[in-house]
């Protein structure tokens, strides 16, 4: 390339880059102006809608009273405005809110089926929060949406509104949500409410299902403090080989089990897996008795610090403080000593 052509190229690059910089700057300022205009409009409309909505929620006005204040161009904004209230309301007030939203939800229904995944997910969220029974089928159908995001939004929506009648459908699709953290899935399922407990117990007892799904069911049942789940938990501890499932079932037994379940837990305390041993120790503290003190004291020599900590805590719970003190006095038992000091 000749020097002259290079110089021309560079000059063109300079012009292009400066033009690009100006373009970015103009786009930024344009975006800012647009955002500010939207914010002002939104604030003005919300200031108008809020007192009327509060009047509806307090029973001083009919749900249709707001319709005349929402123009065709403001429908989407209005539905978003209602969503913020829906996330805070329960019971009859939520039903009133659903009645206010009802005339605008056909548009939202259409959005739940078309467009990008975020758009569909938002529509499903709106329907779940604001929709009456008429829209539940759309939310339920979204569990099979090709996008995991939309499917998860549907599941969360059904769960957070306590629609236990959909528990079986959600549990059937748990493998779709395999990427999500077990703790998050468990808390979502627990929000379905006590009506979902039988389906969760069945899942926990189903040895054909993936151990991860069963562990999630166990955690959900624990969060619900479901006493009848102890049988399924005991069976899982006895028959399962997956450490995460065994640990989850042991945590469940610690929460809802009884001294009758202790033999199963004692056997688990001899597991080769440190997580299982640690949870078994913790469970013995909850449902064991003084007879477990010797076994727990032996676990103070465990290689896993978690087992040692749980064993020390459980020893205190079953009245084995003397054994704990003796173990702490041994040379080299630093962790036991620390744990004992912590429990004083």
């Amino acid at each position: 390339m000749s020097g002259e052509r290079l110089a021309v190229g560079l000059a063109a690059a300079v012009v292009a880059l400066l033009a690009l910089a100006l373009l970015f700057g103009a786009a930024t300022l344009g975006l800012r102006a647009l955002n500010e205009r939207r914010a002002r409009r939104s604030a003005r409309l919300e200031a108008d809608w809020t007192p009327h909505l509060l009047a509806v929620l307090s029973g001083d006005a009919a749900p249709v009273a707001l319709a005349s204040r929402v123009s065709a161009g403001d429908r989407a904004l209005f539905v978003d405005f209602l969503l913020r209230f829906a996330q805070r309301l329960r019971g009859p007030e939520r039903e009133l809110l659903a009645a206010v939203a009802e005339p605008y939800l056909d548009d939202v229904e259409r959005r739940a089926r078309h467009g990008g995944e975020e758009r569909r997910a938002l529509a499903v969220q709106l329907l779940g929060a604001l929709g009456a029974a008429r829209h539940a089928a759309t939310v339920r159908a979204a569990l099979d949406d090709p996008s995991p995001l939309v499917a998860m939004t549907a599941a969360q929506s059904l769960a957070s509104h306590g629609r236990a009648e959909h528990a079986a459908a959600i549990l059937e699709r748990l493998p779709r949500f395999g990427e999500w953290s077990p703790g998050f899935l468990a808390s979502m399922l627990a929000r379905l409410g006590a009506g979902a407990a039988p389906a969760l117990r069945s899942l926990l007892a189903d040895s054909v299902r993936a151990p991860g799904d069963r562990a999630v069911a166990a955690e959900a049942l624990r969060a619900m403090h479901d006493m009848p789940a102890a049988d399924a938990a005991r069976a899982a501890v006895t028959t399962a080989s997956d450490p995460d499932l065994m640990a989850a079932a042991l945590r469940l037994l610690a929460a809802v089990g009884s001294p009758a379940d202790a033999p199963v837990v004692r056997a688990a305390a001899r597991s080769a897996d440190p997580v299982v041993r640690a949870q078994a120790c913790a469970a013995l503290g909850a449902i064991g008795n003084a007879d477990d003190a010797a076994a727990l004291a032996a676990l103070l020599d465990d290689a896993s610090p978690w087992v040692v900590l749980h064993a020390a805590r459980s020893l205190k719970a079953v009245g084995g403080l003397a054994l704990l003190g003796a173990a702490a006095a041994r040379p080299g038992a630093d962790l036991v000593r620390q744990a004992a000091a912590e429990l004083r």
Binding site: A11, L17, F24, A27, T28, Q87, E179, S181, Q338, E342
Partner: protein, 472 residues
């Protein structure tokens, strides 16, 4: 001999042009990818109901580990702010790294600390602990006093005492926004194989702080701090967001990162023989996870914010940049086997080479370019129009990319509400090319040489503390 000199100058020119083209192409790539990722992320944020996440109980417990060394000016305010975080279950471990000032005394007085016992759940080698305290007022607040061993050593002590599945490494003088934890934990909820997540760091200089929370965001008064605001926007919104979207996150800031405890313990904790312990850990985690062969994720999320005070004097800033460059060089040098190693996927083939050639060696190339340019001018051998055009291209690229970063901020979080601040950022995008950039290059080259000399230590940072201001 003269011919050799000209050849050397010509080689430097080629190197500088190649470096310049590659660097800007990477910046452009990350900015474009970040633009798309931020738009998508902003849409997804509408689906987030933080109240439900907090109330639902599905968020795992977190331990905040805040190493503190002589932080008497800011520690009480900073910890007060941590105590107001909106998160269902968390503990705070303040690790005083042998502070010689009144850090522990201030904390004891403010939070009624009492001696306590706490068993250690890991055995990462660290300097001895002299005392453990627990707050009588806030049972989730612990203070561990230990012998001085550096920030990494303090983090390792915190890690040894940590009992939650996740821990957050942060600076004791930083302010986390109230929702920061519930936002930064999201990737751990959405992907069970997530091992580390970084949040965004923003500059607090110039902002109003009330009761441990930033209540009004403004650009700092100092020009030096203003340049850093622009740098941070570029580094986080264009850089880290772009790299995260490319699934090649190699840096999580030590000022705010959330990690899976078990994997960091398995990796041996924080390295104590480098000042770049944050980056070194992330690189090591990549190596460990790749070695295990199981899927994993290390990522960045742009909405959880940690506010930090930036240096306002050239001397302190120079020391900070020197240290950053030293940390980068040390981290990359000790994991050199990642370079162009296909076994490490995008990390080995894309991120590591970028940081190695363009971020670690780049400043030296840039400085050599300046020297060669001056030499050519002095010797009367510079092709004036060509040099001028080249400099203008460099300038144009820099300005365009900086303005793009301001645009990304406007597209996503809009933290600077005053139009004047945005216009000021535009002006800074132009002004930083005249002096600040060259100075920064010099500091980074100095840092590279410090790494080669194996210099240790952090250097002091003078803090003004968070001054409560009445919002007008």
């Amino acid at each position: 001999m003269a011919g050799l000199g000209w050849s050397a100058l010509w080689a430097v020119n080629v190197l500088v042009v190649t470096y310049f083209v590659l660097l800007n192409l990477f910046y452009l790539l990350t900015s474009l990818v970040a633009f798309r990722a931020l738009r998508r992320y902003s849409r997804r944020l509408k689906l987030l109901d933080t109240e439900e996440l907090i109330a639902g109980g599905g968020a795992p417990p977190i331990t905040l580990i805040a190493p503190a060394f002589n932080e008497e000016a800011t520690c009480v305010e900073a910890i007060r702010s941590l105590l107001t975080l909106r998160y269902p279950e968390y503990e705070i471990l303040v690790v005083s790294d042998g502070s010689t000032d009144a850090t522990v005394a201030r904390l004891t007085e403010a939070f009624e600390l009492l001696p306590a016992a706490r068993a250690t759940m890991a055995r990462i080698p660290a300097k001895p602990v002299s005392a453990v305290f627990r707050s009588r007022l806030h049972p989730n607040l612990w203070v561990i006093d230990k012998e001085n061993g550096g920030k990494s050593d303090a983090l390792n002590v915190g890690l040894n005492h940590c009992r939650t599945p996740l821990f957050c490494a942060m600076d004791a003088d930083g302010l986390l926004e109230r929702d920061a934890l519930i936002r930064v934990v999201r990737p751990f909820l959405e992907r069970r194989d997530t091992v580390a997540v970084g949040g965004i760091i923003r500059i607090i200089n110039g902002c109003a702080v009330e009761r441990g929370a930033v209540t009004r965001v403004r650009l700092p008064g100092s020009l030096l701090a203003q340049f850093q605001v622009l740098e941070y926007l570029r580094a986080f919104l264009s850089g880290r967001m772009g790299w995260a979207a490319l699934d090649a996150t190699l840096i999580i800031s030590g000022a705010f990162g959330l990690f899976r405890r078990s994997i960091v313990v398995a990796a041996g904790g924080f390295a104590t023989d480098t000042v770049g312990e944050d980056m070194e850990l992330v690189v090591r985690l990549h190596r460990l996870c790749r070695g295990r062969g199981a899927p994993y994720s290390v990522t960045f999320v742009p909405d959880p914010v940690a506010w930090t005070e930036c240096p306002e004097t050239l001397r302190t800033l120079g020391r900070q940049r020197d240290r950053w460059q030293r940390g980068l060089s040390e981290s990359l040098a000790r994991h050199a086997r990642l370079l162009f190693n296909p076994r490490y996927g995008r990390i080995g083939l894309l991120a590591y080479p970028y940081f190695f050639f363009l971020e670690m060696l780049g400043p030296a190339v840039e400085l050599a370019g300046y020297v060669a340019f001056v030499a050519l001018v002095l010797l009367g051998r510079a092709n004036g129009p060509f040099v001028a055009l080249f400099l203008m291209v460099a300038f144009g690229f820099g300005v365009a990319l900086s303005i793009a970063a301001v645009g990304l901020e406007e597209l996503s979080f809009r933290r600077y509400p005053r139009l004047g601040d945005v216009m000021r950022l535009f002006a800074l995008a132009v002004a930083e090319n005249f002096g600040y950039r060259q100075l920064s290059t010099y500091w980074r080259v100095r840092g590279m040489f410090s790494a080669l000399r194996r210099k240790k230590g952090w250097g002091a940072m003078t803090r003004k503390g968070f001054v409560p201001q009445v919002v007008g």
